[in-house]
Amino acid sequence: MDNVIYDYIVIRYGELSTKGRNRKDFINCLHANIRRVLKPFPALTYEKFYDGMYIHLNGEEYQAVAEKLKKVFGYAYFAGAIRVPSDLDAIKEAAYKIALSRPYKTFKVNAHRNDKSFPMTSDTINRSVAGHLLANTELKVNVHEPDLMLYIFVKKDATYVMDEKVQGPKGYPVGINHKALLMISGGIDSPVAGYVTMKRGMRLECVHFASQPYTSEQALDKVKELLRILSEYQGEIILHVIPFTELQMQIYRHADESYAITLLRRMMYRIADRIAKKRNILTIVNGESVGQVASQTLESMSVIGSVCDTMILRPLCMADKLEIIDQAVKIGTYETSILPYEDCCTIFAPKNPVTKPKAEKCERYEARFDYEKLIEECLANDEIVHISFDDKKDTEELF
C-alpha cells in the first residue's frame, strides 16, 4: 500500500514560461484557475516562485488535490514533495521517507541546486543521498530505469524532495485566449472539440439546438452532463438552449428533403453567429470533421459556413473518428455521448442527403419562408443555463 507522506505540491510551468511579455498574464490566469479548482480545499496555502508555485497541503489529502490539478491546463507538471530546510541531514531524512513510502526496488537521485550558496554541488548531493539510501534501505541504484527517480530541488529557503512528476494536460490556461462558442449536439465529437478549445486557452460558451418534443428532455440532460464533465476544466459553462422545432419544421415544409440538413446547419450557424456577436465571442467552434457525414463534405461545409462571418474553427476537421473516440474516452465524455437519444440532426434524417449542395439552391429554398423572423424567435427564446461541475450536489447526500 502506498503511503502518501507529502506536505507540499510543487508545480512547474514549462511551456508557459517562454511566453515573453505576456508571461505575467499567463501566470495570473493559471493561478486563478488553480485556485478555482482547489477551492474545495480551504486549508491550502500558495507561494509563487519564478517558474512555478508551491502549494502547502496543510493537512489536505494529497491524492484528492492531485486529481483536481490534473484538470488544469497550462503547466508542465506537478509533484508531491516533502519540504525540509536546505540542510544535508534533513534532505537525507526526507529522501529516506520517500524511498520507503512505496515498494520501490531501485532508485536514482537527481538533485538540482538552485541556491549556489549551498555548500555542495548537485553531483555531491546525489552521491551523498544515494549513499544514505544504500546504507539504510534495501534499495539498489539503477541509473537507467529506476523505479524511484528522486528529485531534490535545493533552494535558498528550503529544499523540496519529490519522487513522481505528474504530467499536466499541458496547453494554455483557460481564459487567456478569449472566448469561443461551441456548437454542441450531444454526440462524440463536439465535447472533444470543446476540450481541445479550452486546452488552447479559450473559455467556452455553448449553444445547443433542441427540437422538443421530437427530441427528449433526456437528450438535453445528456448535453448538460457532457458540459458538466467539461466544466471541470474551466469552471462554470454558459449554455444557450435554442428551441429549434418551429424553424426545423418550416425547413421540412419548404425545402427538398435532401437539402434539409444543409439548410438546418445554415440556420444553426446564423443563430450561432448572432449569439457570438451579441456575447462578444470571436470564434465559433464545432466538432465537424472533413468527410464524416454528408453535411461535412468540403462542399457542404463551404456552403453551410458561408452564412456566417464570425470565424469558424473546426479543431477536429482533420482527425480520424477513432482518434476522436480515443480522446473522448480519455476525457470521460464518451460513455455519456453514446447514450441513445435523438438530437435534432437525427430526427427526420433524410434518406439521401445531398453531399454537394449548391448555394443558389439553398437560397432558393430559404426564400420560400421568413426564416429571419423564426431566427429572431429562436434568439428571443434562448434559454441560458449555467453549468458547473458541482451541480450534482443535491443528490450527493443519498450516497
Binding site: 428532455e217 433526456q218 443528490t395 447526500e397 443519498l398 450516497f399
Partner: protein
Amino acid sequence: MKKIYLDTVSTTRPDPAVIKTYEDLLEKTYVNSDALYDDGVTLYNLQEDARKRVASLLGVSAEEVIFTSGASEANSLAIKGCAWAHPEKKHLITSIYEHSSVYGAASQLERLGWKVTYLRPDKEGKIAPQAVREALRPDTVLVSIMFVNNELGSINDVKTIAEIVKKESHACFHCDITQALGKIPVDLTNIDLASFSAHKIHGLKGSGALIRRRHVPLEPLVSGGQQEGGLRGGTSNAPLNIVLAKTLRLALEQQPQEEAHDRRLKEVLLQELQEIPEVTVNSPADGIANLVSLSTPVKSEVLLNALNKSGIMVSSRSTCGSRKNEPSRVLTSMGIDDERAIRVSFDRENTEEEILLFTKSLKEIIKKYG
C-alpha cells in the same frame, strides 16, 4: 434488563444514516424506475448512479453490479446461472462448509445431473488451495469457495484459490464475500462472481448484490424483464438499491477502525475464556476478528436459553439453519460436536463491558448446568 446483542454475523443494526436516506426516498418517490417520464428517468438515473458508486467502491465497472435481494439470491444466481449458461460442463467444486444458499444451489444442480465435489476444510478450518487444484477437471464449470466462514470465522486464501482457478482451468470462480466485506480488505482480482448482503454491513434486509465480471455468461433465475441487464426480472426496488451505495461506502470507510475495534474485543474475550477450563475455542487463531465459535460442556440449546434469560443474544450456529434439526455441516466437517457449540459475534456497537458480562454469565451457566 439491558440486552446484549452478540450475533452480528447473523445480522446488524442498520446505520441511522442509511435508514434516514431510505425513508426519504420512500416518501419522495414511488414511480417505476423503468418508466419513461421524467420522474421515472430521474429515479433510474439515481439507481444507476448508485450502481456506479457500488462498482467503484469494489473496483469493478457499473455493468458488473447486479442488485439482488441479498447474498442468498446472489449465490443462487451465480451458481445456477453460471451452470445453466454452460450446459456442456457438468462439474462443480465447492466446499462442505459453505453457506446454505451455496450448498443448496449445488445440491439442487446435483439432483439435476451435475457432479459436485465438496471439499473439506483442513484442521485450521480453511479450504486448501491445493485441494481446489486437485479437484479441477476440464469440465468444471464453477468453483465456489467462501471468503470467510460464517460459523468458524476462518479466512480462506481466496487470492491463491482465485489465481489457481484462473490460471489452471476454464472454470469460473465464485466467492461469497458476505462475512469478509467491511471486516477485512477484499480484493476482487481474479474473482469472476462475488456475492454480498447489505444487512451484514449495517444496511437493510432484502438488499445485496452479485458482482459479475463482464466475461462471465449467466442465465437468469427470474426471466423476462429488462431489469439488471435481463438477469433479474421484476420491478426494481430502486430506493433499496440506491441506499446500498451509502451502506457499502460507510462500511468500507469504517472497515479499518471496525477491524481494530473487533480485534480488541476478541482479545478480551479470548483472554476471559482462558479462565474457563471447560471452554474450547473452535475458531482458528488467525480467524476473523468479529467472530468466536466456542464449545462448552453445556448443550448449546440449554446455553442459548440460559443466556437469553440474561438478555444475551448469541447463536448456536448459522442462523439460516437454526430451525432445522440437522447437525451443522460446518462444525461436523471440523469434527466439532455441534450440540455443544455456540457462536459469539460482535461489531463496533459492542463494548468490552458487554463481553465481560457475557463471560461472567457463561461462567455461571457452566457452573450450574455443566
